[in-house]
Each structure stands twice: as structure tokens, then as C-alpha cells.
């Protein structure tokens, strides 16, 4: 077994962390050198203390949302509307949001080489290309590693709209907490037996599990020991109320769907101290009938995002919370035989707001039919680097995986610093 003093010698550890490690070792877990989060300061000038990353899974059609064109040959039945910023135009279903364009940086020059959903989503969430030999962490575990753990009980990061998550090569304790259904919050939190009897059960489970976890030197069983510790802490606190949106007065303003309710939950979590919340919502893979699909999907985004921005602003949180809207690719300007649009990574659009972002900014441009990026090309890793820059993550800091491979946040992507005011 690894000696505690030896572990402590690896890194200047806080006393609290040292105590946690000791506790872990007496429970017979973490015999490998664990991944250690460190207490770095955020980079100077960074205003985004929190991040809400709204992810449009399936590939958000850029022409029908944030990059409409005058060329009617590529527009289907989507019409272009004005916003409260002169040179920013939206598709007609973003009507409410058009009054908030002065809060947004609209990036029309996203470009990627990943035409498949899984790979595209992977790089948009991790900043790295998907590989068969390692799993890269998402923004939450990175921020916790580079900035230190923020909360004692609540997790530092949460992913809404996913039923599972991981911390990649980082320690499982940094995994974002997955919330599959925002309206249901954290399910199964009602204890079967209470008080002393519950403690007895937990203690016995730990004792009985020791032989197994010490026999198999796998990350899997160890990670479950960690999740039990986290669950135990969570159940014994009143922090769970942060996940309950059933009594929020403005719940209906967000829209009743998963996206709207996810944004509401994200706002509440950020308010309660969670640093990074990803809200993942699908339905953008519009290979068939793009007009019909945008007519339902885009208004959901319109309502949810407008309400989120207003809500954050009225609570004084917009200045310290960056809101990002990302997707894996755009959709083909040419409408296909099934009246749909196919995958189009060559040009697409993403949006940033709050947390120091200069509102009313249009960044980059595509040609007259939305096919090619003409200026300020932004790759997925650049988009993540821009988010990281806003959060004050040190983009140069090298973090080593357990197999001693070096990684930096967003894989040497270039932040678009001119987006910041």
C-alpha cells in the first residue's frame, strides 16, 4: 500500500486534502497515486466565475438560427429578422432573443473536420479529438483541477441531460454529477432507514467491500467507493435543495421542455455555488423536414436562452457567469431529398454571453450561402480556449495523465481575446 507520507511528499497538500486522503486509505481505496487537484488562482482579469454551457446535440442548423442569408436558395422557409444590434441578424424563430443580441457574441466562423456526432460532440466538450487510448475530461474537471475545489458538499460541476459522466483521465471524484431529467433533480434521495441504522449499513458496506477493492487494482471499483462517499455527504446535507426547481416562481418562463427546465436548474445551481453546468439537449439532427423541426426546436432555444439571460442579469449573476451555446456542426446549406439538412462541419455558429464577453459582437463571417468561413476561423479547441480564457484557466499549464501523458486545457486552442470587453 502507498504510504501516506509519500503521497503527501508528492505535492504541497492542504491539511484538509491530506485528511481526506488518509480517510480514503483507511477505507482501503486509492492505492494508486491519485490525481491531485491544485489550488491555482484564476488568471488576472477573468470575470467568469461560473459557466453555463448549453449544448445543442445533433448539429444546430446555422442558417436557420444565428447565420441567416439573403440568398433565398439556401434558406428553405426560414426568414431573416433584425436584432437590436445592426449587423447581427437571426432566423425568424429567434424572435425573443433578437432583443438580447446586445448581450451576445455571435460566432459565425466555427469550423471543424468532424462530421460525425460522437466525435464532433467530444471535441466540442473536451477540446480534444476522440482517441481510442485515453478519455479527455470536460470543462468541469479541468476547472476544478486548475482552480481548486470550490464547494464542500455540492459538486463543482453538473451535467444536465446526461445520465452518465466521467472525469476522463482525472480522478473520478472530479466527475460532473449527471442529472438526466432536470425536473426530477437527483432521484432516489429518500433514505430507507435513518440515523444510526443508516450509518451502520454504510459502515458495514465499506467493511465488506474492502476485500474486493483491495484485490482488484482497477479504477472501476475504486471510483464506486468515491461515489458512495460523495452520495453519503450529499444525503446528509441540505444542499440537495439546490437541485429542486419545483418551487421556482419563474419556472414557466423558461419553457416546459428539457432545455428550458435544464437552463432553470443551471441558474439555480450556479446561484448555489456550482461552478460549471452543462445543459445538453438534442433534437437538432434534422435530416428530414428541416422546416417542421426548426419550428419546434428553435423556439425552445429562443425562450430558454432569453429567459436565462434576463434571469441571470436581474440576479446580478450575468457579469460573473459565462453562458455558452455550442453544437458539433452546422447543417448543409443545400436542402436534401427529404426536405432536410445533413451534417455540415465546414461552417457553423456558436454563441457566448456574460462573464466578461463584449455583447453585441459579431465574430467571423461565412460566404453568401453559409458554406465557407471567410474570416476569423474558430475551431472547436479555439472555442473552448475562449471559454477557458474567460474563466481564467491557465491555458499553458500542463497536467499529466496517470500514464504521464501531458495535456493542456483546450489542446493549445487560441482564445479569441477580442471578444472580451
Amino acid at each position: 500500500m502507498t504510504n501516506i507520507a509519500e503521497l503527501a511528499g508528492k505535492d504541497p497538500l492542504s491539511r484538509r486534502y491530506f485528511m481526506e486522503m488518509s480517510a480514503k486509505l483507511t477505507l482501503g481505496v486509492s492505492t494508486a497515486v491519485p490525481f491531485l487537484p491544485r489550488n491555482f488562482q484564476a488568471q488576472d482579469g477573468a470575470k467568469a466565475k461560473n459557466l453555463i454551457y448549453i449544448y445543442m446535440a445533433g448539429g444546430m442548423t446555422h442558417l436557420d438560427t444565428f447565420d441567416p442569408k439573403k440568398n433565398s436558395g439556401v434558406m428553405g422557409s426560414t426568414e431573416m429578422i433584425d436584432t437590436n444590434v445592426d449587423n447581427i441578424k437571426f432566423g425568424m424563430h429567434l424572435e425573443k432573443l433578437s432583443k438580447h443580441a446586445d448581450k451576445l457574441a455571435v460566432i459565425n466562423s466555427m469550423t471543424s473536420t468532424n462530421g460525425a456526432h460522437e466525435q464532433g460532440m467530444y471535441i466540442m466538450r473536451t477540446g480534444y479529438n476522440k482517441r481510442a487510448t485515453i478519455v479527455h475530461p470536460t470543462v468541469g474537471p479541468w476547472a476544478e483541477t486548475l482552480l481548486g475545489k470550490r464547494g464542500e458538499i455540492l459538486p463543482d460541476s453538473v451535467v444536465v441531460g446526461r445520465s452518465t459522466s466521467n472525469a476522463g483521465f482525472m480522478d473520478p471524484s472530479l466527475s460532473p454529477l449527471p442529472i438526466a431529467d432536470p425536473s426530477a433533480g437527483v432521484p432516489n434521495t429518500q433514505l430507507i432507514v435513518e440515523g444510526e441504522r443508516f450509518d451502520r449499513r454504510m459502515e458495514m458496506a465499506q467493511k465488506l467491500g474492502q476485500q474486493f477493492t483491495s484485490k482488484f487494482k482497477y479504477m472501476g471499483p475504486d471510483s464506486y467507493v468515491e461515489y458512495y462517499n460523495q452520495a453519503n455527504k450529499l444525503l446528509k446535507s441540505d444542499a440537495l435543495s439546490a437541485f429542486d426547481i419545483s418551487n421556482e416562481s419563474n419556472a414557466s418562463d423558461y419553457g416546459t421542455g428539457r432545455l428550458g427546465q435544464g437552463c432553470l436548474l443551471a441558474r439555480k445551481l450556479v446561484e448555489n455555488g456550482v461552478r460549471v453546468v452543462e445543459v445538453i439537449a438534442g433534437g437538432w439532427d434534422m435530416h428530414v423536414d428541416v422546416d417542421g423541426s426548426t419550428a419546434t426546436r428553435v423556439p425552445e432555444l429562443d425562450v430558454a436562452l432569453s429567459t436565462l439571460l434576463t434571469d441571470l442579469e436581474s440576479r446580478g449573476l450575468l457579469e460573473s457567469t459565462m453562458v455558452a451555446v455550442g453544437t458539433e456542426f452546422g447543417r448543409t446549406p443545400d436542402i436534401n431529398m427529404n426536405s432536410g439538412r445533413d451534417h455540415y462541419p465546414a461552417a457553423y455558429s456558436c454563441v457566448l454571453a456574460g462573464g466578461g464577453i463584449k455583447g453585441g459582437t459579431k465574430y467571423g463571417e461565412t460566404d453568401g450561402s453559409g458554406k465557407k468561413v471567410k474570416s476569423d476561423h474558430m475551431k472547436p479547441e479555439d472555442f473552448l480556449a475562449t471559454i477557458g480564457h474567460g474563466m481564467g484557466l491557465n491555458l499553458e499549464e500542463t497536467i499529466y495523465s496517470p500514464t504521464q501523458r501531458p495535456f493542456t486545457f483546450a489542446d493549445k486552442g487560441k482564445p479569441a481575446t477580442k471578444l472580451f470587453g
Binding site: A184, T189, I192, R201, M202, F216, Y218, A231, L235
Partner: protein, 689 residues
């Protein structure tokens, strides 16, 4: 659900086997009630006699009463699943190949042999997809039969759990799902039921694949058409999935440019995709540049303008208003009926206008050509027939290798070459076990793609029946299969284990939806059916469309389907995939959008489900099912053992027994349910050792 298991045609096996192995099949020793014994190959049961082949080649019949009970049981089993002498010879051959390679790489031998208790839990999980009950565990533990391991493997391969468990695997691989929102209104239920039936009947895998690739019609007339219809509107993505699943090659990036790492060009991609280039999936949509000819496309298997004529008739005779929301079910019905697979000579695959790779020119027609292996023979066949024949031909070893490698991964937790859906020829050459890979590929061909017989070989190897490897092998390092690797239960295994803990082994035969309602509603030959006939089918459809939540439907009488709103079913019988935030979803059940996307990540919600979830409440709550089930047992020692049998399928160690007994002394029955809770919530419960 149907339990029919195809009996193996032994003579075919014998002939193929004999051609493959120089040495004859091994005989088994049979013992008579008066203590005499003989060595012979078992051929089958004929009335009250057993037929054998003797060493000298002669065949004899012996009355079954002459044999001891254990041999009579063996004969029944072997008669059902086939003689196991070939299986054992193949298993031994795999062990020899692996052992040689282990020695070459500095290992003395396999991991220690798996003790009986770990064996029984592992094979129940791996084969039947769930943990054994306490009774099933004890039956095995107490059996003194020398061949009890082979017998249990066979028994489980013949049990309904086998097909249910395998269905979950293929549902992930083939992205089987029945959510109409994802599928443009196509009803996939009959296609899913078709898959279940193929696995229950143990249809050879190459036949399953051929049938799917060449299917025509809609899912009502031909449920296998669901395979082609699955990716309607995403024809090139469908082809990329075809590559990953059937050939083990991920060629998706060659859709837009030459493959950066492999030898495939963008031209290769479109030429191979052209095997599906004249496959029409739908009706009523306008054609565009990706097809030659243009213009509107007729519904296949239907008279010209059928759709328009039927809609006009319904509007005149039945008062249907196509634009009115109240008649939306009519639109959905006609839409669902219109998803129909056929070959259309007007269609071609055309290279895209922004083609930038090599091997072709923009806007030119791509002719079907295979990008790996030999050429497909077109003569007189449709494109899809030619592709299916090429794919499953004996001289295309890649198809056999892909499925053998996948089945190997199911048994050992790690593939011989991987990832299973994307490996190059170069990686096959560099595999850590090239001889074993070659051997199992030939075995897959020898058993004629009978997956049950193939898995039977793997489960009978010494390599499989070893203690799981204790250190996690690095992804990038070679692994020599000194034993399987430790795995967490799949989401479905965890779910099905909870089901068996709550409801006992009867859960294995409890049926959910069978897709028959939609099969019946959509089974219409439009060339023959009158408008009134079709209308009658629409009325059935309409009656079914009530708010059903997560319920699924089966046929009962003509107009009213039976609605099954029961969630206490095995995972394979539930809605596919099951609902968000359910325990299946929480434990990583594939969402069926990307192939092989089941995941094994842990999470806080998972442990909360085990700590406080519905099943845990029933098993260890104030009125505890575990306590109730153990009432028949006397004394704390037996009860504590009983809890270990129920939860972990093993005997407690002396310390564990002591701990449990002291809990009972202090807290009585509460101590029992506390112990059950603790075992469910120790990591051992979730892992397949």
C-alpha cells in the same frame, strides 16, 4: 415468448469438423447402471434408445435405461444443444494457443482456476444476463457431478435468458430503438421483435445479416426492412454504420475527404456506398442532386400515385382534412405506411459537388465496388444481393473475424483486436494473439455462424474459467488473456439482476410488447388492397393512439391492442431504449444513436439508486423480501449464508460470517436486511469477477 431452440444439425457439423481437424472428434465415456463403461460419440436420441458412433466407425443403439442417471441427463442436454466433443476440442485448441503465447511473453500460465462460486455467478451474468437466485446457486454448489460446469453452460445457453441478454448486445450494436420521434414516424416495433425471434431461434448470424441487407417492403410486410429504414434520410451515415458493424472499419471520415490514417479514399467510400445507391426507402419526397433522374419518386410496391389517390379518396369518402390537426393520425398512418424499402433503377449514388478527395470527380456517378477484400459478383443479382453474398461468402474472412472478435470480447471483456468497430488490416497483423484470432475466425465459419455454438466453445476454455485479472490492463498494451478482465455489470445486467432478486427466475419468461400490433396494422399489399381495406387498417391504428406514456402495445383483438404498462420486465422486453432517468439509463444503457455506445462510467445517481431505489426498498426496507425469503432457514449461521448466496452468490468468509452473525444477535431480522443492504452496496455486487 417463444422458447423454441433450433436443434443443431449434427451431421453437418461432423462433416465440416472432420474436414477441419485431422484427428477425429473425441468420444465421451458412458457408464451403465451395472458399472460398465464405453467410449463413444453420442449421435442422438431415437425413441427410448441412444445412438452412438463407436471408435471403429460402426453405429449402435442402446436402451436409455442402461445408463446411470447423470449420463441420461447428459444425453438429454447433448441431444438439445449438440454433441460437445467438438466444443471441447476447440476450447482446448484455444487454450493451447493462448498458453503458448503466454509462455512466450513471460507468463507461467493462466490465472488460477475460477472457484465454483465465482464461476456460477459469472456464467449466469455472461450467458443468462443476470445473477443466479439462491436456489440456482445452491443447486450448482451442491451438485457432485463431474461435468457440472459444461452442463450449466449448456443449460444457460438453452435458457430464455440467453437470447434476452444477447438482444441487449445487438440492440446496442445495431442501434435498435422504437421511438417514433427518432424515426420519422417509422414504427420499428416489428423489426425489434424480429431480432428477438432470430436470437431465440438461434438463426445463424450470416443469415440474419443477409436477410436484413436484402429486405424489401415495409416493416409490416417484412420486419427485417427495419434495418434499412433505421437511417432513412441519413443514407451515407447508414453506410458508415454498415462499415463499423459488418466490417469493423470506421470509414465515416472518408465521406468528406480521404481517410487520414487508412488507405481509403473518398472515392472508395462512395463506390462502396453505391451498393445501397438504388435503395429507395420512402415515398412522396422530391428527388435532388444525390439521385439521377430527379422528379418525384413513386412508392415502391404500390400502384402509381397510390398515396395521392388514397388521400383524395379519404377526403371525399371519409371527410379527412389533410391540413386539420384533428386528422393528424391519418397523416401519421399514411406516413408510416410509406416507409418502404425497394430497389429503384432511377436512382444512383452521385459524388458530391464539393468532392475533394481522390478516386473520383464531383457530380459523377459512383458504381458499386468493394473497398476491402475481393470483388463482389454482380451477375444477375441486385446490388444489395451481391453485397450480402460478398459479405457473407466463405472467402471473405473479415466478416467472420468481426463477429468472432466481438463475441470474444463479450466473454473476456476485451477484444482480440480493437476497438471492435474500427481496426485496420495492419492492426490484425499486429494483434497480440494472431494465431488465436485466426483460429476463432475459422471456428466462426466452421460452426456456420451459430453464435450459441461459438459462445459455448469460449465458455468452455480454461482461459475463460480463470480468475479475473487483478490489475487493469492498459488500453495501449498487449494483453495475453491469462483470464477475463474485471467488468462492471452492463446496465441491463444490473437491471435484470434487480428483477430476479425481486421476482425470482420467472421473470425470464415474462413477456413485454411483441410488435405484433404494428406488424398487423402495416401489413398491407397496396397492389391488391382496396381503399376500404386500407381504411380498416387506419381505424385499427387510430384506436391505438391514446396517450400511452411509456407503455408498449401488443395485439389482442382486432381494433384494441393490449397495452402493456408493466415495467417489471427484463430489459430486453421493455421499450427500447428505456426511459430517461430510469435505472437502465442511469447505469449507461445505450441511447441507440451511435453504435456500441453503452457505457460503464460510475456516478452518484447510480449509487443512490442502489442505496435508496425501488428494488432496494422492497428487498431491504421495513418489510424486507430478503428477510421473508430466509424465514424457512434456522439459525443465524444459515441465514447469514443465505444472504450471501442471494446477493453475491458465494459463501461468506469466516470473518464475514462472524460479522453477519453478530449483526443478527444485536438486531435480529433488522440485522439481516442491513446485511443484505450492505452487500448490495459493496462494489463487489456490481462487478463481474
Amino acid at each position: 415468448m417463444k422458447n423454441s431452440i433450433k436443434t443443431i444439425i449434427q451431421t453437418v457439423c461432423v462433416m465440416v469438423f472432420a474436414a477441419f481437424f485431422a484427428s477425429p472428434a473425441q468420444a465421451r465415456t458412458w457408464t451403465s447402471t451395472d458399472g460398465k463403461s464405453m467410449k463413444a460419440i453420442f449421435l442422438g436420441i431415437e425413441g427410448d434408445n441412444y445412438k452412438f458412433k463407436m471408435a471403429n466407425g460402426s453405429e449402435i443403439s442402446v436402451p436409455k435405461d442402461r445408463f446411470i442417471k447423470a449420463d441420461q441427463e447428459a444425453a438429454v442436454r447433448l441431444n438439445e444443444i449438440g454433441d460437445d466433443s467438438f466444443t471441447k476440442a476447440s476450447a482446448r485448441q484455444i487454450d493451447t494457443l493462448l498458453a503458448t503465447n503466454l509462455k512466450k511473453n513471460g507468463y507461467s500460465s493462466f490465472n488460477d482456476p475460477l472457484p465454483d462460486d465465482l464461476f456460477v455467478r459469472r456464467v449466469y451474468l455472461d450467458i443468462a444476463g443476470r445473477i443466479p437466485t439462491r436456489e440456482e446457486f445452491l443447486e450448482f454448489a451442491e451438485s457432485a457431478r463431474a461435468d457440472k460446469r459444461e452442463a450449466l453452460i449448456d443449460e444457460l445457453l438453452l435458457s430464455p435468458g440467453y437470447a434476452s441478454n444477447l438482444f441487449n448486445y445487438f440492440a446496442d450494436m445495431y442501434r435498435l430503438q422504437a421511438d417514433e420521434d427518432f424515426n420519422n414516424g417509422i414504427r420499428m416495433d416489428p423489426y425489434l421483435e424480429w431480432w428477438r425471434t432470430q436470437l431465440e431461434e438461434n438463426t445463424p448470424y450470416n443469415e440474419i445479416v443477409s436477410t436484413m441487407i436484402t429486405a424489401e417492403g415495409n416493416v409490416g410486410q417484412n420486419p427485417a426492412a427495419g434495418f434499412i429504414l433505421r437511417d432513412t434520410g441519413m443514407e451515407f451515415d447508414a453506410f458508415s454504420n454498415f462499415g463499423q458493424v459488418m466490417l469493423g472499419i470506421d470509414i465515416s471520415c472518408a465521406q468528406c475527404h480521404d481517410h487520414p490514417f487508412d488507405e481509403w479514399t473518398q472515392g472508395d467510400f462512395y463506390e462502396m456506398a453505391a451498393f445501397f445507391g438504388n435503395t429507395q426507402r420512402s415515398t412522396g419526397y422530391r428527388a435532388n442532386a444525390s439521385m439521377m433522374g430527379g422528379g418525384s419518386i413513386q412508392m415502391p410496391n404500390a400502384p402509381e400515385n397510390w398515396k395521392k389517390n388514397f388521400e383524395n379518396w379519404a377526403s371525399t369518402s371519409k371527410g379527412i382534412d389533410m391540413k386539420d390537426q384533428k386528422d393528424r393520425q391519418f397523416r401519421y398512418f399514411v406516413n408510416a405506411l410509406g416507409w418502404n424499402v425497394a430497389d429503384n433503377e432511377m436512382m444512383e449514388t452521385v459524388l458530391p459537388a464539393d468532392f475533394i478527395g481522390s478516386g473520383g470527380k464531383p457530380n459523377t456517378v459512383a458504381n458499386p465496388r468493394t473497398m476491402v477484400g475481393g470483388a463482389a459478383k454482380m451477375g444477375g443479382k441486385t446490388r444489395r444481393e451481391a453485397l450480402a453474398d460478398w459479405l457473407t461468402a466463405p472467402d471473405n474472412p473479415r466478416f467472420a473475424l468481426v463477429i468472432a472478435n466481438r463475441m470474444w470480447q463479450r466473454a473476456f471483456g476485451r477484444a482480440l483486436v480493437g476497438p471492435v468497430n474500427d481496426f485496420s488490416d495492419e492492426m490484425i497483423k499486429r494483434a497480440s494473439q494472431p494465431e488465436t484470432l485466426r483460429f476463432v475466425t475459422r471456428e466462426m465459419q466452421r460452426v456456420n455462424y451459430d453464435l450459441k455454438q461459438f459462445m459455448r466453445i469460449l465458455y468452455n476454455t480454461r482461459a475463460y474459467q480463470s480468475i479475473a485479472t487483478a490489475e487493469e490492463p492498459d488500453w495501449a498494451d498487449d494483453y495475453y488473456f491469462q483470464g477475463p478482465i474485471l467488468r462492471r455489470m452492463r446496465a441491463e445486467q444490473a437491471w435484470d439482476s434487480m428483477m430476479v432478486l425481486q421476482f425470482g427466475s420467472e421473470i425470464d419468461t415474462k413477456e413485454g410488447a411483441d410488435g405484433s400490433f404494428y406488424k398487423k396494422v402495416l401489413d398491407i399489399d397496396l397492389n391488391v388492397a382496396s381503399n376500404e381495406d386500407v381504411w380498416a387498417h387506419f381505424e385499427m391504428w387510430k384506436d391505438n393512439q391514446r396517450t400511452m406514456g411509456n407503455a408498449v402495445v401488443s395485439a389482442s383483438n382486432d381494433n384494441y391492442p393490449e397495452i402493456i404498462n408493466d415495467k417489471y420486465l427484463r430489459a430486453s422486453e421493455l421499450k427500447q431504449p428505456y426511459v430517461a432517468a430510469s435505472m437502465l439509463d442511469t447505469f449507461g444503457q445505450s441511447d441507440r444513436q451511435i453504435t456500441d455506445s453503452h457505457n460503464y462510467d460510475g456516478s452518484v445517481p447510480q449509487v443512490l439508486a442502489l442505496m435508496n431505489g425501488e428494488a432496494t426498498v422492497q428487498l431491504t426496507g421495513l418489510s424486507s423480501k430478503v428477510v421473508e425469503d430466509l424465514e424457512e432457514l434456522d439459525g443465524p449461521d444459515d441465514k447469514v449464508r443465505g444472504v450471501f448466496f442471494t446477493m453475491l452468490s458465494r459463501f461468506p468468509t469466516p470473518e464475514e460470517l462472524k460479522l453477519g452473525v453478530s449483526m443478527m444477535e444485536d438486531y435480529g431480522d433488522d440485522g439481516i436486511s442491513d446485511l443484505a443492504w450492505a452487500l448490495m452496496n459493496s462494489p463487489e455486487f456490481l462487478f463481474v469477477q
